[in-house]
């Protein structure tokens, strides 16, 4: 195999949903390469196909045109290989399971022993600061804590690829900053590849090595911004630096340009 370093390689990909009132072109002409260890954000107005693109990578939607490879193989084989962890926009915890048993869910399915499960549960709950909440049920936790539990559940699979769909979208600013910082530290430490959907410019610029600016109708890539901020853990106040603001401005311009024609 021509071993490219790309974890994800997408070429001329398109996806059209057949709906009751005719076809909806959700994605069109998507070309994107994501290298191992990248932290890539998809940003764009709602309805521009961010979720759909992430779901195509995860083999939860089937593209209607173009090609895509994940880990050098098809998304389906990558999924069957449990190559990625997926964090949905909502926590999607099972209400009848405690937090610990929710984290254990993928581990049970993977057939890990009880001891292995316990070890991974403890380690990943600690990682998202939820130690001590093992026996709680989801409804007993705040929205932010539930989302952290769902991140712990995705991490417990120990995937090299993490797909996250607006995981912090519903959280307040302070919690979000904190989780952003933690996520970046985790990424720097574990050298995972992360694909992250957001509609927040500061979040995208703060986290990413590469920012994919998308525009709607049909969903497509408007601009790909390579970040020149240092890789690895970044202090939160990097957001005040001129380099950061310049990147943010470029992303903002991209979003504006992508938007302008239908105003």
């Amino acid at each position: 195999m021509p071993a490219s370093m790309d974890v994800i390689d997408i070429e001329a990909l398109s996806l059209t949903f057949e709906t009751g009132d005719g076809p909806v072109q959700a994605l069109s002409g998507i070309d994107l390469k994501i290298a191992k260890g990248d932290f890539v954000s998809f940003i764009g107005p709602s309805g521009c196909g961010k979720t759909t693109l992430l779901r195509v990578i995860a083999d939860l939607e089937q593209p209607t045109g173009g090609s895509i490879s994940v880990n050098g193989t098809t998304p389906e084989l990558a999924r069957l290989d449990r190559a990625y962890g997926y964090v949905f926009q909502a926590p999607a915890l099972y209400p009848w399971r405690t937090i610990a048993r929710n984290v254990a869910l993928p581990l049970e399915i993977m057939g890990l022993t009880r001891a292995q499960q316990e070890e991974r549960i403890a380690r990943n709950l600690a990682l998202v600061n939820l130690t001590g909440f093992e026996k709680k049920y989801p409804w007993q936790l705040s929205g932010g804590m539930q989302q952290r539990a769902s991140i712990a559940r995705a991490l417990a699979v120990e995937p090299d690829l993490l797909l996250m769909d607006e995981p912090f979208g519903a959280l307040d600013e302070i919690v979000r900053d904190h989780l952003n910082e933690q996520l970046l530290q985790l990424w720097a430490k574990t050298k995972k590849t992360v694909v992250f959907v957001t509609h927040s410019i500061p979040e995208a610029v703060y986290l990413s090595t590469k920012i994919v600016v998308m525009s709607p109708r049909p969903g497509r890539i408007h601009d790909i911004v390579e970040s020149d901020l240092p890789r690895g853990p970044r202090p939160l106040d990097i957001r005040e630096t001129p380099e950061f603001l310049k990147l943010a401005q470029r992303v903002r311009d991209g979003l504006r340009a992508g938007h302008s024609y239908d105003d």
Binding site: R82, E108, W139
Partner: protein, 299 residues
């Protein structure tokens, strides 16, 4: 919730309604039995004062409509007043009906769950079975029950099982309908999650569909247990059964023993209420074990 408001909001209205029903019942008994008393008096050449006529209307041996106190007295006599092994004890007859009810309910529940699992997992079963399942319930059970019992008797099956099978026939239906809905109730996002883990159908079933369907199962069981009891009673009617609440109803009507009929009716209603309560309690226990948020009752 404080005690006085509980009293005002629950106890008082319930008692008021019961008192109203009892009062209406006495009035109805008076109207329905009055002419019997008058006819009887004419026959014997007697003349009763109005108050004596009233009193007698509520104390006839075989009234058209027995008065509440007569039914209560009969209930008391045939439960507490007799050994439970006596052939006239309502406890004995209640037990006979209850055992058929429970057996039929158990079989119906298992059958219903089994069919629902098949229907949810096999498109062919969904298409081929569902119309028949619905059609099965459009057949009047009163017509089917005698045939079923006679046929089963002919092949040597008698006693508990034929009655139980009528309960099964009635009670599997709400279970199928509820469980099909319940097993299909998981949200798309919960199913997607399973897909990202490459879970197989069995894992999706045990870890997602089954637990998600539990509230639906209990809703079905509450209906199922009540109609199981009806099934068992209906099953006792055409056989000339010697035991069971259905048999009491039937023999009561043969001999014009209206008081006995009403007592059996009340025993059946009481049994149904208790069975539904027991299902409700188990539901609460199971839901608590499954970590459900304790429900806050609306005032």
């Amino acid at each position: 919730m404080t005690k006085p408001t509980f009293f005002r909001h629950s106890v008082v209205p319930v008692l008021t309604v019961i008192a109203a029903i009892i009062a209406l019942w006495y009035v109805a008994a008076l109207f329905m039995n009055h002419s019997m008393v008058v006819a009887d008096a004419q026959l014997k050449g007697l003349a009763f004062t109005p108050s004596a006529t009233w009193y007698r209307s509520w104390a006839l041996d075989k009234p058209l409509l027995p008065a509440p106190h007569q039914v209560v007295a009969e209930l008391w006599r045939s439960t507490a007043g007799l050994s439970v092994t006596s052939k006239r004890s309502l406890v004995y007859h209640g037990w006979v009906t209850l055992s058929a009810t429970l057996l039929g309910f158990l079989l119906g529940t298992l059958l219903g769950i089994f069919l629902a699992i098949g229907i949810v997992h096999q498109k062919v079963m969904d298409k081929s079975l569902m119309p028949w399942i619905i059609a099965s319930q459009t057949v009047p059970i009163l017509a089917v029950a005698p045939m079923l019992i006679v046929v089963l008797n002919a092949i040597g099956i008698s006693g508990l099982l034929p009655k139980a099978l009528i309960s099964t026939y009635l009670s599997f239906f709400p279970v199928v309908v509820g469980m099909v809905k319940g097993l299909r109730s998981p949200e798309a996002i919960h199913l997607d999650l399973m897909r990202t883990y490459n879970a197989d159908d069995f894992q999706v079933f045990t870890k997602l569909r089954w637990p998600a369907s539990v509230p639906f199962l209990f809703a079905s069981l509450k209906v199922g247990i009540a109609i199981s009891l009806i099934g068992a009673i209906v099953g006792e009617l055409p056989t000339g059964a010697v035991a069971g609440l259905g048999a009491r109803l039937l023999s009561g009507s043969y001999y014009g023993q209206t008081i006995q009929i009403w007592a059996a009716l009340f025993a059946a209603a009481f049994l149904a209420g208790m069975l539904v309560l027991v299902v409700g309690w188990s539901e609460r226990i199971v839901m608590r074990l499954m970590g459900a948020r304790p429900e806050r009752r609306a005032a």
